[in-house]
């Protein structure tokens, strides 16, 4: 589960962002909505332990992520966090197979080829293991990024603008897969988006609305 408490972040020479307290249970979906510059990415960075809160805490499964030492945050991210970036960031120097092996290498663990094969099959990507990302379609590349995010069974799955470059049909499919994969590992899914289609597709999701202001509130 994820919990925000008195969370605030002050940018150097920039705005101050305050976030409303909230609590999202394990396996639930949290929608973080707001226009560009409202602080969605900042909130994701705070949840991922990439930024240290100026005030307040971010708890993930009871762990105050912001209070962890840098090395502990790296280890925590490797073990418990899944991330689907807006631009996917698959390495073009590596094959699909090697891209999916990266989470293990980064965590300093042996690669699990069986787990990778299982995910590839579940996502309809069997036969593409040897291809490079630039040889995939947009949809295929997004599924590879999804597979990379859920490979090690994260407790928290962050998706930054997951439908940004997709048409309606692809957007629906992407959301469906996200929720399905998050449910498999009982991860809390946090979607940061300004895409109205996401809200429409997930009417029952918990909502955190961010407004563009020096001090924002839900």
């Amino acid at each position: 589960m994820i919990e925000l408490k008195d969370l605030r972040y002050d940018y150097r020479n920039g705005p101050t962002l305050s976030f409303a307290d909230l609590s999202a249970s394990a396996g639930s979906t949290l929608l973080v909505r707001g226009a560009s510059g409202a602080g969605k990415s900042t909130l994701l960075a705070l949840m991922a332990g990439l930024l240290t809160p100026t005030a307040g805490q971010v708890f993930v499964d009871g762990i105050d992520v912001g209070a962890l030492a840098p090395r502990q945050r790296d280890a925590w991210r490797g073990a418990h966090l899944g991330f689907v970036p807006q631009r996917l960031h698959l390495s073009d120097a590596l094959s699909v197979q090697d891209n999916l092996g990266l989470p293990y290498v980064c965590a300093g663990e042996p690669v699990q080829p069986a787990r990778i094969a299982e995910l590839l099959e579940r996502l309809g990507l069997q036969g593409l293991a040897g291809r490079r990302p630039h040889q995939l379609s947009v949809g295929q590349a997004q599924r590879v990024a999804l597979a990379r995010a859920v490979l090690r069974g994260p407790r928290l799955l962050l998706a930054d603008e997951p439908t940004a470059s997709l048409d309606d049909e692809a957007a629906v499919e992407a959301l469906r897969l996200l929720i399905e994969l998050a449910a498999l590992s009982r991860a809390t899914l946090v979607l940061a988006t300004h895409d109205a289609r996401v809200s429409q597709a997930l009417p029952d999701a918990q909502l955190l609305q961010l407004n563009r202001a020096p001090a924002c509130s839900a």
Binding site: S41, P85, H89, D98, L102, C106
Partner: protein, 403 residues
């Protein structure tokens, strides 16, 4: 660690042209360094070996360097001949422990025929691998290389050619018989054909009208040798004998140690140039690797940031960059050493064709450890700034957090 190296290897070859060019530059530089080490070490060792026990070379008036090269290494032409009586004169000197005569002038397929005494073999502790040492005129013992290249074995006969280059007229009427083949000694003897002094005189005195009334003393008075290899009885010899020899009419003293030092200085200048060229190549390679690594880190900053997001600590990401450079260094070391040994082998073949000093690509020097050490050092230096840049990567850029 192995997984990181495997990943680094994949990243390295994701830009094959850049990697290949950097590999080529590095390998050429390391190969040049290896070549210089191998050749200079073998030449120094060969020179030291061939100088064994020879304190002075006495020849006809002329260049001491030429006398030394002709008498010790059998590389140059001698300055002329000296009277046979010189040998006795030298042996009577109290400062002289030993004087070994050498008579040059003929050859077998380019290998010099040297008339001497069995003491010459003792100088290099050479022993026959087959057959025996000569005991009578026109009996010859072949050095190991001379035997191998000529294909002659014990019992075979051959005619010597006039001149040291093997292209003069053959002395067909006076044929030698091979009575022994020396075991390889790694010295100048390997590329010589050895025989007694009498053989050389017999070949060249044939055709002269011999008057039965001429006695041996008269013959000896006319006979000549090319030079004498002298060993001192004590350190005083080094101070006194060269001056005494030079004062004799028609004689020139050459101190091998002195002349060799001069020679190695001259050769050393050449090796320094080559070494400098190798260092220049390495510097160019280092610069090229640095530029390639910096460019790679910039191009891959999102990949590296994603790795941080996946839990890799900054040191691991920086280590990936360094590992890429180290992979290049290891590969370049292997190729560079292969190139160095290959070039040395090629040089050895060229020198062997000229019956010159033996140099081989199969030689391994302890000093070659400097090659991988240089490669690793260069790789680490080239990768230092790019690795630091990767270490300091701002991961939040992945999320496009405004600043």
């Amino acid at each position: 660690m192995f997984r990181l190296i495997a990943l680094a290897w994949r990243y390295l070859w994701s830009q094959p042209l850049t990697a290949a060019l950097n590999l080529l530059l590095l390998s050429l530089g390391l190969g040049a360094i290896s070549f210089v080490i191998l050749v200079s070490e073998q030449v120094e060792q060969a020179v030291t070996r061939d100088l064994a026990g020879i304190d002075l070379v006495v020849g006809a008036k002329g260049s001491p360097m030429q006398i030394m090269l002709a008498g010790v290494f059998h590389l140059d032409v001698p300055t002329g001949n000296i009277p046979l009586a010189t040998l006795e004169l030298l042996r009577k000197q109290p400062l002289v422990a030993r004087a070994i005569p050498l008579s040059l002038g003929d050859s077998l397929q380019g290998y010099r025929i040297v008339g001497s005494t069995p003491e010459y073999l003792d100088l290099y502790q050479a022993k026959p691998a087959s057959g025996r040492v000569w005991q009578a005129p026109l009996e010859a013992v072949l050095g190991a290389e001379a035997a191998q290249r000529s294909g002659l074995t014990v019992g075979a006969q051959f005619a010597s050619s006039h001149g040291l280059a093997g292209q003069g007229d053959a002395h067909d009427d006076r044929r030698y018989t091979v009575v022994g083949v020396l075991a390889p000694s790694g010295t100048v003897l390997d590329r010589l054909v050895l025989t007694g002094l009498e053989s050389v005189w017999a070949v060249h005195e044939h055709g002269d009208e011999h008057d039965d009334d001429h006695d041996d003393a008269e013959l000896d008075a006319k006979r000549e040798i090319t030079m004498a290899l002298v060993s001192y009885r004590g350190p005083l010899g080094a101070a006194m004998l060269p001056r005494w020899v030079n004062a004799q009419p028609g004689l020139q003293a050459a101190a091998p140690a002195l002349e060799t030092a001069r020679l190695l200085r001259m050769v050393g200048a050449g090796t320094e140039v080559l070494r400098g060229f190798g260092v220049l190549l390495l510097l160019a390679a280092g610069l090229s690797v640095f530029v390639a690594m910096l460019h790679a880190v910039r191009e891959r900053r999102n990949d590296l940031a994603m790795m941080r997001m996946l839990g890799a600590p900054p040191a691991r990401v920086a280590g990936l960059v360094a590992a890429e450079a180290l992979c290049l260094a290891v590969l370049a070391t292997v190729l560079g050493l292969a190139l160095g040994h290959g070039l040395t082998h090629g040089l050895g073949l060229m020198l062997a064709a000229q019956q010159s000093i033996t140099v081989t690509g199969g030689w391994w020097s302890f000093r070659e450890w400097s090659v991988p050490a240089l490669a690793v050092l260069l790789a680490l230096l080239s990768a230092a700034l790019p690795a630091w840049s990767a270490f300091r990567l701002d991961v939040t850029q992945l999320l496009q957090t405004p600043r």
